[in-house]
């Protein structure tokens, strides 16, 4: 069993597991931090961005000044933003049989895999994962396609040139494999390959392996996966949460007794408490708005935003914010809000109970009804008429490189009354802000990451007791910025096996058994004998049938009736098939009893000699000699088949067959 690690990003994993005869891809996350190296894509022409100076080498050589621009000491690529794909060369991706998706954030590379690698398999995901994943992809494509950029820089990617660039461009990995965004057509084609599954649904892969999604508690429809055969079990834990937010709680019990547990998608901000961050978010928001400023919240169109809106729903009246408009701007804002209300079966118990009443599970329905929350597909159109300040705007993309958020950064960045509050943990907020410097607006960092922290992980591992743990290398050492925090790493026995991008791990377990079915007719014919207390044995001779990776034992065929004499028998027909093996024997033969038995059966003239290891029994009349030792018996006789068979059967009486 092998694990091919195609992504180095611990929360956006992409691994391929070879298990029995199947090849299973676990998630296909897309690392979008690469876009931080690019200049933002403004919705409307931005004089500031277009007038940034070109960058030149220390020696004054300016041949890169068309591709690279400088802003407040940072260098950015002026080009269509590109994403860092999972490794595509490590393993032939056309051999992947199935892809298992754990949550909508971990499927963003799907079109690259399904459309461009010869992949012909099946993708499994839950319904909310697919629907919301589609929204995320739709938004991404829309953000990038609606501001076409003529320039696509490639000169800087040349290895010899990249060496000369300043950090972080110099250190960017695998830049030659970075790709531009996919198209909506590719998204649709990729999503059409997905088969919807439900929690605890058992899915058979070629009769050899069974996969099952389990609730992971992190997002709507998010799942962990069990990949198991009858005797082996691998758990894939990706993006799980033990906090009670809106999704169904995590199913931990089903992870027990795993041979291997692959652990990815832990919290990216292990030192921040999500509840505290939400509180800080609300108070900063209220403070800014009371002072007449605007609040910008860069966010994804689904996920944490539901929880934020729910908190605000409870908070705005008490904080005196009832008259402040909340805007949610995204090409998929409406769909996201609508979809969130129809996945009752995937929600936590509280929200389910509301649906039974029947009431919408999320209170943002009421915010919309009372006009406190308004949503728009983009800043163009209706929004420009309704726009009132001060206000709170939720919009994407959290990288601040594309989407409507770019416009608001340009619009509000110059005033210190305004605040941008970062809640999504996927991007470093300082790097996100770099191309907007110098900024006057306040920046608050309240990352809300509900995924497991290290304390919860060690509790979980104690609970489910996997034999081996496999995780990204980042989790086996403290974060680089807090190298003294030994508590911020995975601590388990035996130590977790770690992987990094483009590595192949041999997973440490041996398969020893396989399931086989014994047909009832055969089972009836078996006679188990008790050999030791509590242990019975039965020898089995049967015909093995294997079909679709399922093995069945059938009773051996009855010997064919002898063919009538007309046809001449061929000599070879008589030759016994050497493959019809006799069972093994065990036990030992007590000489005295054996001799008595011989006498009883009419043998006389028996002589027994002692040897170093045993005895020799001589039947002088028949010129036959039987050597008896602890572990062996040897019958040496003339060619008298009758006699030999008689002796054989007498010896067998003392032995057990296996």
């Amino acid at each position: 069993m092998k694990l091919y690690c195609l992504s180095g990003h611990p929360t956006l994993p992409c691994n391929v597991l070879k298990f029995k005869s199947t090849t299973v891809m676990l998630d296909c996350g897309l690392d979008m931090t690469s876009t931080l190296n690019f200049l933002p894509l403004p919705l409307v022409q931005s004089p500031r961005l277009s007038n940034l100076p070109g960058w030149s080498l220390k020696d004054g050589n300016a041949f890169l000044d068309k591709e690279l621009k400088e802003c407040s000491g940072h260098v950015f690529v002026d080009s269509v933003p590109e994403f860092c794909l999972p490794e595509t060369e490590l393993i032939d991706l056309s051999t992947v049989d199935v892809i298992l998706i754990s949550n909508y954030h971990c499927m963003m590379a799907l079109p690259y895999i399904t459309e461009h690698t010869g992949f012909t398999g099946m993708v499994y995901a839950t319904e909310p994962t697919v629907q919301i994943g589609r929204l995320l992809m739709e938004e991404l494509v829309n953000f990038i396609e609606r501001v076409p950029k003529a320039q696509s820089a490639s000169l800087w990617k040349n290895k010899d040139i990249q060496r000369l660039l300043p950090s972080p461009l110099k250190d960017a990995v695998e830049v030659s494999t970075w790709r531009r965004c996919y198209t909506m057509q590719e998204v649709n084609s990729a999503l059409s390959k997905i088969q919807l599954v439900g929690y605890s649904q058992k899915i058979e892969l070629f009769g050899a392996v069974q996969v099952t999604p389990l609730s992971s508690g992190y997002a709507l429809g998010s799942s962990n996966w069990i990949i198991q055969s009858h005797y082996e079990k691998v758990s894939y834990v990706s993006g799980s949460s033990l906090l009670t937010t809106h999704p169904q709680p995590m199913d931990q019990a089903s992870l027990k007794n795993s041979d291997v547990l692959i652990l990815t998608g832990l919290t990216q901000i292990p030192t921040a408490n999500p509840d505290g961050m939400v509180g800080e978010f609300c108070s900063n928001l209220a403070l800014t708005v009371r002072n007449g400023g605007n609040v910008l919240v860069p966010c994804y169109p689904s996920g944490v935003i539901y929880d934020l809106l729910e908190c605000l729903y409870q908070y705005i009246d008490s904080a005196g914010l009832s008259n402040i408009p909340f805007y949610f701007i995204s090409p998929v804002a409406n769909s996201s809000l609508e979809f969130s209300q129809i996945f009752a079966e995937w929600l936590c118990h509280n929200k389910q109970t509301k649906v039974y009443l029947p009431e919408p599970p999320f209170p943002h329905a009421e915010l919309i009804q009372t006009n406190k929350l308004k949503h728009y597909p983009s800043i163009h159109g209706d929004f420009s008429n309704d726009f009132r300040q001060p206000c709170v705007v939720f919009t994407g993309h959290p990288s601040l490189r594309f989407g409507d958020v770019v416009h608001f950064m340009e619009l509000w960045g110059k005033s210190s009354l305004n605040t941008v509050i970062f809640t999504e943990p996927d991007f470093s907020y300082l790097e996100a802000l770099a191309p907007y410097q110098p900024l006057a607006m306040k920046c608050i960092y309240c990352p809300i990451d509900t995924r497991l922290n290290f304390i919860q992980v060690s509790k979980l591992l104690k609970e489910v007791q996997p034999l081996h743990v496999v995780c990204p290398e980042q989790y086996t050492q403290p974060p680089p910025a807090q190298s003294h925090r030994m508590d911020l790493m995975i601590d388990c026995q035996p130590p977790a096996m770690s992987y990094r991008r483009a590595e192949v791990l041999a997973l440490p377990f041996k398969r020893r058994y396989e399931k086989i079915e014994i047909m009832p007719e055969l089972a009836d014919s078996l006679v188990p004998m008790e050999i030791k207390p509590g242990i019975s044995l039965a020898t089995v001779s049967a015909v093995l049938h294997t079909k679709d990776n399922k093995h069945v034992l059938q009773p051996p065929p009855r010997p064919a009736p002898p063919t009538s004499g007309k046809k001449r028998k061929r000599a070879s027909d008589d030759i016994p098939d050497c493959q019809v093996l006799k069972p093994l024997l065990s036990g030992s033969i007590p000489v005295e009893q054996f001799v008595q038995t011989l006498e009883k059966h009419g043998f006389s003239d028996i002589k027994v000699e002692d040897t170093a290891k045993g005895h020799i029994v001589l039947l002088q009349e028949a010129e036959t000699l039987i050597q008896i030792e602890e572990d062996s018996t040897h019958i040496i006789c003339d060619n008298d088949e009758m006699l030999r068979v008689r002796l054989r059967d007498l010896v067998l009486k003392f032995l057990q067959k296996f």
């Binding site: 439900g198 058994y513 086989i516 089995v540 040496i636």
Partner: protein, 590 residues
Amino acid sequence: AGQDVGRSCILVSIAGKNVMLDCGMHMGFNDDRRFPDFSYITRNGRLTDFLDCVIISHFHLDHCGALPYFSEMVGYDGPIYMTHPTQAICPILLEDYRKIAVDKKGEANFFTSQMIKDCMKKVVAVRLHQTVQVDDELEIKAYYAGHVLGAAMFQIKVGSESVVYTGDYNMTPDRHLGAAWIDKCRPNLLITESTYATTIRDSKRCRERDFLKKVHETVERGGKVLIPVFALGRAQELCILLETFWERMNLKAPIYFSTGLTEKANHYYKLFITWTNQKIRKTFVQRNMFEFKHIKAFDRAFADNPGPMVVFATPGMLHAGQSLQIFRKWAGNEKNMVIMPGYCVQGTVGHKILSGQRKLEMEGRQVLEVKMQVEYMSFSAHADAKGIMQLVGQAEPESVLLVHGEAKKMEFLKQKIEQEFRVNCYMPANGETVTLPTSPSIPVGISLGLLKREMAQGLLPDIRKPRLLHGTLIVKDSSFRLVSSEQALKELGLAEHQLRFTCRVQLHDSRKEQETAARVYSHLKSILKDHCVQHLPDGSVTVESILVQAAAHSEDPGTKVLLVSWTYQDEELGSYLTALLKKGLPQAPS
């Protein structure tokens, strides 16, 4: 529901597990026959001890109406499984049913509101295709049935034995629900409803056009149309149909929906939109099909308003409640029309007027003369004969059992199923028990070493000479493992006992031993073509693991002694060889 529609309740015993399927009431009775007779399950002892679980297929009262009576009054505390929408809607219908029975008819000894609540606390909600482990051995799985919102078929599985219970289902997608679907799960038994065992319905479009035409004509001539429906199910289907028709034709006549339940009902459809059909799910963000523009809430007083109108009123079989009240008001006018869109159980007013009765005896010896037009239109979302056959084909069961239908019609379908699929088909009456023998195979663990060895050798199975697999089955603490004999010995700490035979065969041959050996070799080689015959450097000959050595006779130089030596495992070949060699060698070409 044996040979009958109403009070669906089936007990399945499978591999030592007892599962009760549905717990319905009968619309046609008001006495003890209203509920199933639970004494069939067990006469003494608690139901909780006897039943492993109860499964409810959907929220119609003939499938869940007796549930509070069963769990709270008879007494059952085990798990009750149903889908989320069923769990949401079921208590509302039960409460409605209770109100009509107790408040309107004044029945005593009926279950109370509290009992409904307590009963619902025992419910465990399941999702489609989720495998629910009831205990270590018993598992159940729900499939989409399409009959009403949240309707499901259930597979009940213990080890390798399984039963599928369809509940009510519909094989053709309609305007708001999808079609039932099941995979090729090959159950030992398929229990299917057979409401429309003999009907093959004409195309849905024709029926819809017919329906719209009749409604339209009546409204045009100023008549009133009464459509008795159950609040959830067909009501939404017909609402969508009329709504789109009204919009297209720009009609003004009002459409009403009786009872407050309806708005709530539509809300359920909005929130459980994932259970509806593809088209509605796809478009719900832009336009939610369950937000009706033309259909308004009905008020009791509207019934006397002049002019045309269309009213959907509950319940669907005209046996009580608002639909019956309106019917009594409008029955006398031949301009009006009542359209029965679903099945009516015997004994209800609906059944009477459909069977042609025009003078009805009402309570208090009043006789109601029905002059209004009575139309029947099958909009019930049950599978027709074609659909049932289709489902049987999908699931490929070993046998079929028909329930939820009328005996005569079942008989016809039974024959058809037996002919077409060559499987046994049963149709027990209420209280009857059908026993099916199964022969489950026994799963054991085979050591991978043994399996791989066998598979490597037996890649091309020869039908004439099937290979035999030899192994030892170890039974320990009720775990079964099949291992190679060597491994079994090792595991038990036993040593192998080698049994060896050596036979002396005398040959007349004056040549040297080496030459004799060479002759033996070529002789054996020519006969044993399928075996591995080797001539070793030390002069001995081997056939597989059997050793043949030639030695000089101690007394007679013209005789050589062949020593043939083999182990017990090669017994047959060894015995054959000695016999063969005893016949002597062919004359060597000199």
